[in-house]
């Protein structure tokens, strides 16, 4: 055993960072490291410390490099932090590069045979004989590869001061009821911990100290939160097609539906879920099910939305409801399918050919993923149109801590649907007549008895009575009413959230950029630059957004794409304020971090 090199004190004698650090773990995908990393994250969470995790994984099943970053933050900052105080290097392929990129002073735990300690002198090295430890603690050779990662969890727990009981609890939680696996992993983890106790000096570089910040919180990812929102919203037809990073939304829904969507009397299913042959067919199922009165949804990512766009234009024009989750990833084309981006903003805002405008919801945290998924079904039926819920890989697939979700007690809004009795009373029903002046017509559902209300839905030109028409005045009547309907949506979509410091300088962001912007806003304020932050939560822009744009001298639009797509929408909507919008961009596939925001805004301010 060559554990002679103990973990030294922080290089340069810096102060101990308590509950305020990042750990990056470099492994090979398919090696079970996801379980180990989630256990480490959960153990810190159970110590009462705010924690967030970012899994940077390849588009591959096994054998390629993967990195997992865990950030603990006493202040509750949960954005990705670009610098790391601890590295755990398990992958020979990337170890040298990881060392080269390491921040000075970082604590490096690595697999002993990699012999990394000569590469740089400004890092604190802790070599660990993983193979020896795994051989000693795990009797089954074929499981060595999977269990090996648990050893670094034990070593890290010791060095960070995490209570081993919390680690064991986290393992049991993660491996839900699989007794043999729990025991195997706990044993390996303890072996790492004991070895570190025996062979390493303690360090005071970074530490976890028990706190009470996470009491009563849950850990969840956005796809599961959206799936739960859809479950409570009573979705009844799901047509979908697998695509990263959106698949787990429907897959999680399927698991919940097994338990919560069976008729208690008959055991039969109250939801139809069909994996379709492609995204085109998924969109067809969603819109026609909505047309026939079901609450319907699909979950997809950018390439899927592109394929669905013909149908989405149909849905807009014939006014068929449906909920479309877009868990965005890095485009264009296949792009970086396992990396995050907010680059479908314009696609979803105006999806399809011709003049189309869609209601979009941008949840920015887990509670909103749940709530907006729930609300999307009401909006779809109220406005009889496709609704996009736009998240991204960062929200959708990463672990987030959250308050438990509040019960959505608001009853379903099934919109303007005329039943047999109502139809009987209506004298002159027209499918596309604007009776109430809000642009929303009354619809009927196929299968309604009584001999009234049947019509033929068509993607070709139609008049207020759903009859085929090529007359200019009929075309204009429908198109202008659709615009009015979109205007009406302004008073129904969620308004923005403000975080104001009393400034005439505005920062505007949406979705997963929120944590980085909050942190950046604090850093900027510490440096003397106060800002007012508006977090946009929906399209169309509401009156509060109008007011914000009008009153600010400058609006920094923070978004995770190259072309400043949201800023473009703002310039188009508010041409008289077009010069106010400055783009703060982050689009390399990693989740946005506070430093990027601070640096870019600072650079603008210094101009």
């Amino acid at each position: 055993m060559t554990a002679a090199l103990a973990a030294p004190s922080p290089v340069g004698g810096a102060k101990t960072r308590i509950n305020d650090f990042s750990i990056q773990v470099a492994t090979v995908n398919g090696s079970g490291s996801q379980t180990a990393n989630t256990v480490l994250l959960r153990a810190i969470f159970q110590m009462g410390v705010f924690v967030s995790g970012k899994n940077l994984f390849p588009s591959n099943i096994a054998g390629l490099p993967t990195w997992f970053t865990i950030r603990a933050s006493a202040k509750g900052y949960v954005a990705r932090k670009a610098s790391n105080e601890m590295l755990i290097l398990m992958n020979p392929e990337t170890a040298k590069e990881d060392i080269a990129k390491a921040d000075p002073g970082a604590l490096v735990i690595y697999d002993e045979p990699l012999q990394l300690d000569k590469l740089r002198s400004d890092l604190a090295y802790t070599p660990v004989p993983f193979q020896k430890l795994v051989t000693a603690s795990c009797p089954e050779p074929k499981l060595h590869k999977l269990v090996k990662n648990m050893i670094y969890v034990g070593v890290a727990a010791r060095l960070l001061g995490i209570d081993m009981e919390e680690v064991k609890k986290a393992i049991a939680k993660q491996l839900k009821g699989k007794a043999k696996a729990i025991e195997l992993n706990q044993t390996a983890c303890v072996a790492g911990y004991d070895w570190a106790m025996e062979n390493l000096e303690d360090q005071d570089h970074i530490k976890v100290v028990r706190d009470n910040k996470t009491q009563g919180l849950i850990i969840i990812d956005g796809n599961e939160a959206c799936a739960l929102g859809a479950l409570f919203a009573g979705v009844t037809v799901v047509g979908w097609y697998p695509i990263t990073p959106a698949s787990s939304l429907v897959e999680t829904f399927i698991e919940y539906a097994e338990e919560y969507r069976k008729d208690p009397k008959t055991g039969k299913s109250t939801v139809a879920i069909v994996q379709m042959e492609d995204e085109l067919a998924s969109a067809g199922v969603v819109l026609s099910a909505g047309w026939a009165g079901a609450r319907s949804m699909t979950s997809t990512a950018g390439p899927g939305v592109s394929l669905m766009s013909e149908f989405i234009g149909l849905g807009y024009y014939v006014e068929a409801p449906g909920v479309f989750f877009n868990v965005a990833r890095t485009g264009p084309s296949t792009g970086l399918p396992t990396r995050t981006q907010q680059s479908d903003v314009e696609l979803c805002a105006k999806c399809s050919h011709g003049d189309t405008l869609h209601v979009n919801l941008y949840p920015g945290n887990m509670e909103e993923c749940f709530q907006f998924a729930y609300d999307a079904f009401d909006l779809a039926e109220r406005f009889q149109t496709p609704i996009f819920v736009v998240t991204d890989l960062d929200l959708g697939m990463q672990n987030w801590s959250s308050k438990p979700f509040a019960y959505p007690s608001k009853p379903y809004d099934r919109g303007k649907v005329l039943n047999q009795q109502q139809l009987a009373e209506v004298k002159d029903w027209g499918r596309y007549k604007d009776v109430d002046g809000d642009g929303i017509p009354y619809r009927t559902l196929p299968g309604t008895p009584g001999g009234k209300g049947a019509y033929l839905t068509r993607g070709s030109g139609h008049n207020a009575y759903a009859q085929y028409s090529e007359k200019p005045e009929d075309y204009l009547e429908v198109m202008d009413r659709l615009k009015r309907k979109y205007e009406t949506a302004k008073s129904h979509v969620p308004g923005p959230v403000f975080r104001n410091q009393g400034s005439d300088k505005g920062v505007l962001a949406f979705g997963s950029s929120d944590p980085a912007v909050i942190e950046a806003q604090d850093i900027l304020a510490e440096g003397g630059l106060k800002t007012d932050y508006l977090r946009l939560r929906a399209l169309p822009f509401t009156a509060e957004v109008d007011a914000f744009v009008k009153e600010k001298k400058v609006v920094y639009v923070v978004e995770q794409n190259r072309d400043g797509q949201m800023a473009n929408l703002f310039r188009e909507t508010y041409p008289e304020h077009a010069t106010k919008f400055k783009s703060v961009l982050h689009y390399d596939g990693h989740a946005i971090d506070a430093k990027s925001v601070v640096d870019q805004i600072t650079a603008f301010e210094q101009k």
């Binding site: 009563g216 919180l217 849950i218 969840i220 739960l228 409570f232 919203a233 009573g234 009844t236 037809v237 047509g239 919940y256 919560y260 969507r261 008959t266 055991g267 039969k268 299913s269 109250t270 939801v271 139809a272 879920i273 069909v274 379709m276 042959e277 085109l280 067919a281 969109a283 067809g284 199922v285 819109l287 026609s288 099910a289 047309w291 026939a292 009165g293 079901a294 319907s296 013909e310 149908f311 149909l314 014939v318 438990p404 979700f405 379903y412 047999q420 009927t444 559902l445 196929p446 299968g447 008895p449 009584g450 001999g451 049947a454 019509y455 033929l456 839905t457 068509r458 993607g459 070709s460």
Partner: protein, 350 residues
């Protein structure tokens, strides 16, 4: 089911079991070319729906894009229709049939809409056995864009302009049999009697019916060098059998004449009687049917009639074990889990 519509028959017009006249099953006026085969098919849909006493409000009509796809406007105005996008009619029928399993679904497509742009959706709808009659109005040509070849055009056949088709044709019927379809039929728009019998049987069938109807395009594909002209099809049409359809009735027990007539019984008790004309053709023999169709096609003949029948396969709503009532109208009480259930879910995530 009951209907709440009181039919208002003309004084002498015959009525069906529900008291409706044939007029109650018509649609808007056709805007297709005079003499179009599609209009003959529309007429038989109306006749068969009337004779089968369908409840019009339960009928839904789906289509994609093309001449054929205009026709849902021309029949059963009491039912709802959805004229969607090119080649995507099957997914529209899939979603609506899941949303409301009590609907009677008729999809009308063409050879272009189904065998080219819509091939993927055709294949998968058939595979899933969605409850619908899938009619392909097959003229071997794109009519609405003025006469290009479709994928069902025979190799070597000529366009009006003289252009020759260099590629082999796709046959929707053998393809459907291959895909496991339990009701595959071919007919000819010029044979109303046969088409009527097939449609009535199709209305009683629970899963996907694939019905390829050769329907000559009088404007673009009715010339002498065409293999889809009226004259050519009439000369090469080989009806397999005389078909009869006996709708299930709780009150009347119908005697089927003994002899050479084969009887296929549907799960609802309806019966199809098949009296062979073409010797040795057995419509319940999947592989035999495939062989016979291929042999006849090689000779340039159209075998028409019920090509293959197997009424035992469960349709999609059954496969998915859906509740009996329409999903579309389930109440919030049945759909929304309780606060205690949300609490349980949240506890598991802590």
């Amino acid at each position: 089911m009951t209907t709440t519509t009181s039919a208002t028959p003309a004084p002498s017009a015959p009525t069906n079991k529900l008291g409706f006249t044939k007029q109650d099953y018509v649609g808007s006026k056709s805007t297709l070319c005079a003499g179009c085969g599609h209009d003959s098919i529309t007429a038989q849909i109306i006749n068969a729906a009337f004779e089968s006493s369908l409840e019009g409000y339960r009928v839904t009509k789906y289509s994609g894009i093309g001449c054929s796809s205009k026709t849902p406007a021309y029949f059963i105005n009491q039912g709802w229709g959805f004229n969607s996008v090119h080649g995507r009619m099957p997914s529209i029928a899939t979603g609506a049939s899941l949303a409301n399993r009590t609907l009677i679904n008729i999809g009308v497509s063409g050879d272009g809409d189904s065998m080219s742009i819509g091939m993927g959706q055709f294949v998968h709808a058939v595979r899933r056995n969605i409850p619908m009659i899938y009619i392909i109005e097959d003229n071997g040509v794109y009519g609405l864009t003025k006469g290009q070849f479709s994928a069902t055009a025979d190799k070597g056949s000529h366009l009006k302009s003289g252009a020759v088709n260099d590629f082999p044709s796709i046959d929707p019927c053998t393809l459907a049999i291959e895909l496991g379809c339990g009701f595959v039929a071919r007919s000819f728009s010029g044979n109303p009697k046969q088409l009527n019998a097939i449609l009535k049987a199709a209305f009683a069938y629970q899963g996907t019916v694939v019905l390829d109807v050769i329907s000559p395009c009088v404007t673009f594909n009715n010339h002498d060098a065409s293999t889809r002209s009226y004259k050519h099809v009439k000369d090469h049409d080989f009806p397999l059998h005389d078909l009869g359809f006996i709708q299930y009735s709780e009150v009347e027990e119908v005697d089927i004449p003994a002899g050479e007539t084969e009887i296929v019984t549907f799960p609802d008790g309806s019966k199809v009687s098949i009296k062979a004309i073409h010797e040795g053709y057995e419509p319940t023999d999947r592989f035999g049917a495939m062989k016979a169709i291929h042999e006849s096609m090689a000779k340039g003949e159209f075998l028409t009639g019920l090509l293959y029948i197997n009424p035992t396969q469960p349709p999609l709503p059954e496969v998915l074990n859906l509740v009996d009532e329409p999903l579309a109208t389930l109440g919030e009480d049945l759909l929304k889990p309780s606060p205690a259930e949300l609490d349980k879910i949240m506890q598991a995530l802590m």
